[in-house]
């Protein structure tokens, strides 16, 4: 059986498409949470709001995809600015 480190092209394309959609939805959910916190809605209630949203997903896979997209965004936002490949010494 042929093995490859690379995912089949179809899966990559699907992931790219899904990620864009879920990333956009994460952005909206984050905006919603930020506004609620800004209006002094207790953190626990904001959690309840997001938890409610995730449990209303059509499938656990949808909820997991949203969570995955959120984790990627969170990790990206905490990453120090990456060096450009054109930087000296790169």
């Amino acid at each position: 059986m042929r093995r490859s480190k690379d995912a089949p092209p179809g899966i990559v394309a699907a992931a790219e498409q899904d990620f864009a959609e879920f990333r956009d939805r994460v952005s909206l959910a984050r905006e919603s949470a930020r506004i609620l916190l800004e209006q002094d809605v207790p953190e626990l209630d904001v959690f309840a709001e997001l938890y409610r949203m995730l449990t209303r997903e059509a499938s656990p896979q949808h909820a997991a995809a949203l969570a995955a997209a959120a984790i990627v965004r969170l990790a990206q936002s905490q990453q120090p600015a990456r060096r450009m490949s054109s930087e000296p010494g790169s």
């Binding site: 939805r25 909206l28 959910a29 905006e31 904001v46």
Partner: protein
């Protein structure tokens, strides 16, 4: 950037403060009532990114007739602080909520586009919320049997979509069609004779959005 991102227009900022005050302590479906108002505003902004501040403010306050203090002259306050357009939209949505309970078919005012947009955004969020709850219910048929009032209103939602569709941005018409079709299909399966969902189904298919279940937050942001 969303319609609620900073810097906010003073009318939007003021509406958010009022909505926050009036919704404080109010819970809808286990979550803060303000969350619903914010979701509807964000959905509106997905489809109408350049929405007027008065429209965004009205959407944030669309449930204010229910949540504002009863001894308050709501019309006067909204008109003076936020402008007459906000009062008009808030009351227009209130009338539509009342009609939903009393009439079999909607009296859609297509002349007032802002009220129509606000109403469509509210329906997208509300329908997806109910459908999402049904999707996760252990026994969907039992869930729909316990929601007779909603099931009886499904033809109203379909008629609203049919009437509003030509006047909505295509993406919004599609995002409204999707949950309406799903509601028709789900409630028809439970034994209720729904309306013919063919035209709405075609519309939803045309947008390619038949199988997703976002919470009103489509990928159009």
């Amino acid at each position: 950037m969303t319609v609620l991102s900073r810097p906010r227009h003073p009318i939007v900022a003021d509406a958010l403060v009022l909505a926050g005050e009036w919704c404080r302590g109010q819970v809808v479906d286990g979550a803060p009532a303000l969350g619903h108002a914010v979701r509807v505003a964000l959905v509106l902004g997905c489809h109408i990114p350049a929405a007027a501040p008065e429209l965004v403010a009205a959407v944030l306050l669309h449930d204010s007739p229910e949540y504002a203090p009863k001894d308050l002259d709501l019309d006067a306050l909204l008109t003076v602080r936020l402008g007459p357009a906000v009062t008009r939209i808030v009351r227009g949505l209130e009338r539509e909520h009342t009609a939903l309970d009393q009439r079999p078919a909607p009296d859609v005012t297509t002349e007032d586009r802002w009220t129509l947009y606000a109403s469509a955004a509210d329906k997208i969020v509300s329908l997806l919320s109910i459908l999402g709850r049904a999707a996760r219910a252990p026994d969907r048929a039992a869930y729909w049997r316990s929601r007779r009032a909603f099931v009886d209103r499904v033809p109203y939602f379909a008629a609203f979509h049919t009437a509003a569709k030509p006047h909505l941005p295509p993406s919004m018409a599609g995002d409204l069609a999707r949950p309406v079709v799903r509601a028709e299909q789900a409630t028809t399966l439970t034994g209720r004779a729904g309306t013919n969902p063919a035209s709405t189904t075609d519309d939803a298919k045309a947008t390619g959005e038949m199988n997703d279940d976002s919470d009103g937050a489509s990928a159009n942001a």
